[in-house]
Symmetry: C2
């Protein structure tokens, strides 16, 4: 048998990667640069490209080549690449082109309208668009579930976090629910006795931007291969060679843009340090959204909110915004580590954050499995917010169920990644500390490079060579469990 199926596949996936490049940049542009009038034409152009990518990936010859390549003599890395190719093929081949195109169009329309509807608290305008997205996402989930044999929601979850199931999530989240509410209450009570001085704004956008750029430099972002811009909903996009992160500025808020930038810098460094020797191949891509979030949360929470990092960043803040009573080191650290129940997921501290995720997980699972409808969302949201965080979102769609971009383009199954990421991050940080005996003193000196080398070696450079379980087990000596996350929160906040 000719040993040439695998090389043929690498050419096909290289081609797909080129088209993904254009799609990623056009998508970034849509969120960060495009004027509203360009929306329809862009949506159509991206849908056309999506259909093409789908056609190339699901061509019958790809299935034949995948089978043939299994019999070929491949290295371990090539075999891992072949496994990811097959996964990619199977994910795509389940969906008819018409569904791919319809979902892309409906998602673009819903997301674009959402950008103004959210500002206007316009649930009535948003709901019909979302219903169409949900209808198509359910159709997608049904087709995927028929193939995988699992539940409809699990079939979507698997797109983002391969190997994860709602059965396992239920266990992990049940564990969190068993100790987190008490911990949250204890921390809130403890912090209630502090007398803190709040920083006084305004904090000029331009200076916030400068500060963000300096933090990116400190954290090793490669500006030769990336940019920082503004968008309504911050994200990390682009391609490994040219990573585009975005943030948004609020002149009344000293830290939300900064920590948003630090979060996206974690995503960006993962992308910028993926294995270049496999560029264009599926094995060179990030392992999963959960692992991706583990990197952003490693940067934002494990590093960013640590006393050591806050000590580093304070003089940079004083340089830009002058001195004020809030900027004594103790006050600044205490204030930066404030735990507070709030409406907005992306502004939440790390102790209350899992509640935001569990709420969304429970709603989106029910929505995809057909147990509830779009019209039920605001009521359920309000109910669960009351239950988990003691807050009412009645009539407050803007800061309630319309706050996130994920559902607008059918990203159901993504939300659990955030809390998986927080748990992975805590577990990874503990492992790094074990491997690097001087880590704490290095961080106190602002010497991040040993830690980044550890991440590069244990996570970044592997791309998708291993399963998530294997990657985490290799890096930390055990599979995911919530113990290190609990220890981290207890140590920092109690």
């Amino acid at each position: 048998m000719a040993n040439n199926a695998y090389p043929q596949l690498t050419r096909i996936f290289q081609r797909l990667s080129h088209f993904s490049h254009l799609s990623a940049i056009a998508g970034w542009d849509m969120a960060a640069m495009m004027p509203p009038g360009g929306s329809q034409a862009r949506g159509e152009a991206l849908a056309e490209l999506g259909v093409l990518q789908h056609q190339i990936l699901t061509d019958k010859n790809v299935a034949v080549l995948l089978d043939a390549a299994q019999q070929e003599n491949l290295s371990d890395d090539e075999r891992a690449n072949l496994r990811e190719m097959a996964r990619s093929y199977n994910q795509a081949a389940l969906l008819p082109e018409s569904l791919v195109e319809a979902k892309s169009l409906a998602g673009n329309r819903c997301e674009h309208a959402w950008r103004t509807q959210r500002k206007n608290n316009d649930w009535a305008g948003f709901a019909p668009n979302l219903k169409e997205v949900v209808r198509l996402s359910r159709e997608e989930a049904k087709l995927r579930a028929e193939a995988s044999g699992g539940s409809r929601y699990d079939a979507l979850l698997d797109i983002y976090e391969p190997g994860m199931t709602s059965a396992r999530l239920d266990v992990l989240f049940a564990d969190l629910k068993s100790w987190l509410p008490d911990l949250l209450q204890t921390v809130v009570d403890k912090q209630a006795s502090r007398s803190l001085i709040n920083p006084q704004g305004p904090f000029a956008t331009e200076s916030q931007r400068d500060l963000g750029l300096e933090a990116m430099s400190l954290l090793g972002f490669d500006f030769n291969g990336g940019r920082l811009d503004v968008s309504t909903h911050p994200f990390c996009g682009g391609v490994p060679e040219d990573v585009r992160i975005t943030t948004r500025y609020d002149e009344d808020d000293l830290l939300s843009a900064l920590f948003g930038v630090i979060h996206e810098t974690g995503h960006a460094r993962y992308e910028q340090n993926l294995p270049r020797q496999w560029a264009g191949q599926p094995v060179a891509l990030a392992r999963s959204t959960g692992v991706h979030e583990s990197q952003s949360l490693f940067f934002e929470m494990q590093i960013g909110r640590s006393a050591a990092f806050l000590k580093h960043i304070l003089p940079l803040i004083q340089q830009r915004f002058g001195n004020q009573p809030a900027f004594t080191l103790d006050n600044f650290i205490a204030w930066s580590q404030t735990v507070e129940r709030g409406f907005i997921r992306v502004d939440a501290d790390e102790v209350s954050y899992p509640s935001h995720v569990i709420l969304r997980y429970e709603i989106e699972r029910a929505l995809i499995d057909g147990d509830i409808e779009v019209d039920d969302i605001p009521g359920l949201w309000n109910e669960k917010m009351q239950q988990y965080l003691g807050l009412s979102t009645e009539g407050n769609y803007r800061n309630g169920c319309m706050q996130d971009i994920h559902w607008t383009d059918g990203g159901f199954g993504y939300f659990p990644s955030y809390t998986l990421g927080a748990m992975y991050a805590a577990q990874l940080f503990q492992a790094a500390r074990k491997a690097l005996p001087d880590l704490d003193s290095q961080l106190a000196e602002g010497n991040f490079s040993p830690l980044f080398s550890w991440l590069r070696e244990n996570i970044w450079q592997h791309g998708s060579r291993f399963s998530t379980s294997e990657l985490i087990t290799r890096a930390t000596g055990e599979d995911l469990n919530s113990r290190y996350f609990r220890e981290h929160l207890t140590t920092r906040y109690l």
Copy 2:
């Protein structure tokens, strides 16, 4: 015979248009946003898309459909669209895929490196890249010339200005050369006796940007469907629904960014007002680069440098930069209409501009026809600059033969469009004045809308329905001639 070849063709061209959309936005991004490290991956992604577009357009079935559609019952507009489809097919089908891809890659590489090489006056670094682009452009010209039966250079010229030949250009340019040098000398002598006060900078970039945006508004740019950004070499890109213009700022220069913006606004309004009912079809595209340049020069020269417009813009300048002795109306108008021999084409006044174009035309024609080599360019450039404008560019590549972006990605045949555009613009302005008896008083009141309606009706809305000759004859009552350009220059400057 089934009457369905034409509808099949419209679907193919619609698809191509979606891909052109992504290519245009990724191209804009490359010039205005992309960090240097993204260059190689972007070049490869765009080349991949270029190959795909080429494959779709030159598919054998397209030729069959084009033949079949000729026999179908079509409206005049559909027949015009079919003619443009066939033109597009014939342009593309002559080139093998490998050449298209090689030229795209070599062009991206040369252009990207040029951005820093130009700053460093690095001809030695630039020349090898340019040689590769020239080699591939000659190959392209040879294949095109074999099919058209004309000269190699004419075959490239026809891409930009369909119907134009170097024989006709030689006549038009010979005419210009017969009276323009004397006119230029007379104007320069006349102006030498003026005692002008020069505006004193610096003129802050941010205020220049504001001023440009206000001029764009005055001139009807639709910001719902476009943006203004910065790039090394200003251009108008994007798509009709989302037009991206760029400029560059020099804080020592009050007007170059402003008039650059006005120039690109002319391009942009043409794009923004192309016939939307045919969106995605070749007939909906701009007629030619010469007609495109006629719109930018109509805005920049016919409107922008007129005393009426300068009178409008002066208070806006004073608002942003304060008052100073140079800002009396008479001094400002006289200074803004200064004619001066200079090195830089894009900064040239309209009297010396044609010399820059004729120089480039003569060099690029000889280069493509194989009469000279890349290594001859700096010497020839210097020689012709001495001859036409009395200036030496010896050793000054930056402001000599490395100043333009056009050749870096193989845009040979484009330069004549600028001077064709200047002549079209003058002829169109005269026709508009005839059709609108109150035009001068309308312009003096800042009422541009009758003039823009005239342009929309006579040029913009027609897209590519007519040949350039027919378009100009319908709008002005006669085919292109240089009489109106001469009259315009004489009236304004003598």
